[in-house]
């Protein structure tokens, strides 16, 4: 009999989750309508670069995609790791939209809204992404001094090589 209770509890939890998914979809609808209006207005801007337009169109097309929400679950840790590697090698983080002026701020805001809209398709995926970000932040706090040390060593090493490249034996002979 216990097994039946386990089964029914599992089914109840799933149905409850489905109810949550539906409620979130209803609550998000006005937000998504505004996103559609703002996104399309931005796409009509003549100064918008082709690359930014492509990203924005993709984000607007996937506002209702649960698959895309689950893709965030593995993209976020990989992107975080790649950003960390870039930082350690002394390279700046990617700059985001290439369109300039007031458009840039609007693009960042609309893209963030589109990301939120996509994540809301799957509250479970959103929760996992949130936990991943929290774990990333918690890990970064004690690791920061160590990372700064590694970064300074790497950049010092690069400068040293660079320095030797210009003032090495060949340069001295010349």
């Amino acid at each position: 009999m216990n097994e039946v209770y386990v089964l029914l509890t599992a089914a109840f939890i799933i149905v409850l989750y489905l109810f949550l998914v539906r409620r979130v979809a209803e609550v998000m609808q006005p937000f998504r309508r505004r996103l559609a209006e703002r996104g399309e207005r931005l796409l009509a801007e003549p100064t918008l670069t082709e690359g930014d337009a492509r990203v924005l169109r993709y984000a607007l097309d996937h506002a209702y995609s649960s698959g895309m929400a689950w893709r965030f679950v593995w993209v976020v840790p990989i992107a975080g790791f790649l950003l960390l590697v870039r930082r350690l090698r002394g390279k700046p983080a990617p700059s985001g939209p290439t369109s300039g002026g007031a458009l840039r701020g609007q693009l960042i805001e609309v893209t963030n809204r589109a990301t939120l809209s996509t994540l809301s398709n799957s509250p479970l995926a959103a929760l996992i992404v949130f936990i991943e970000i929290v774990i990333g932040v918690i890990l970064m706090v004690p690791l920061r001094p160590l990372l700064d040390e590694i970064q300074s060593l790497l950049t010092h090493d690069d400068n040293h090589h660079h320095h030797n490249g210009h003032n090495g034996p060949a340069a001295k002979l010349a």
């Binding site: 599992a10 489905l18 609808q29 996104g39 796409l43 009509a44």
Partner: protein, 118 residues
């Protein structure tokens, strides 16, 4: 011997889950006609290897887990079909309406922007 028994059981429940899944989809189409989201899902299954793998794995996986938890094949079938139906009625079908509204808003905004440009 134990391995063969396990393999046989797994195959049995994979077939069971696949049949329940197809029956559910058949039931949905039978009751509600052929909704676009269901047709789209089948189109995706045909076009995308990831979607095929996902649907091919999820159904049997749920059935196996529930079998291991409960060992009640009939209940597993009923619950699986029930949850699939609730998913369709509570999530997939209303979401289709919301997505259509979103697409209409996008199209209207696009037209509005074109008129402003002219």
């Amino acid at each position: 011997m134990l391995f063969l028994k396990l393999l046989f059981r797994t195959a049995q429940y994979c077939i069971f889950a696949a049949v329940s899944f197809l029956l559910t989809i058949g039931g949905i189409i039978g009751i509600f006609g052929a909704p676009q989201s269901v047709l789209d899902e089948f189109k995706t299954i045909g076009e995308s290897p990831q979607a095929s793998a996902f649907w091919g794995l999820v159904g049997p996986l749920i059935a196996i887990i529930w079998y291991l938890l409960t060992k009640h094949p009939l209940l597993v079938g009923i619950v699986w079909v029930g949850v699939a139906l609730i998913w369709y009625l509570m999530v997939a079908s209303p979401k289709e309406g919301l997505k259509e509204e979103y697409d209409r808003t996008r199209a209207a905004a696009r037209e509005g922007s074109k008129r402003t440009d002219k």
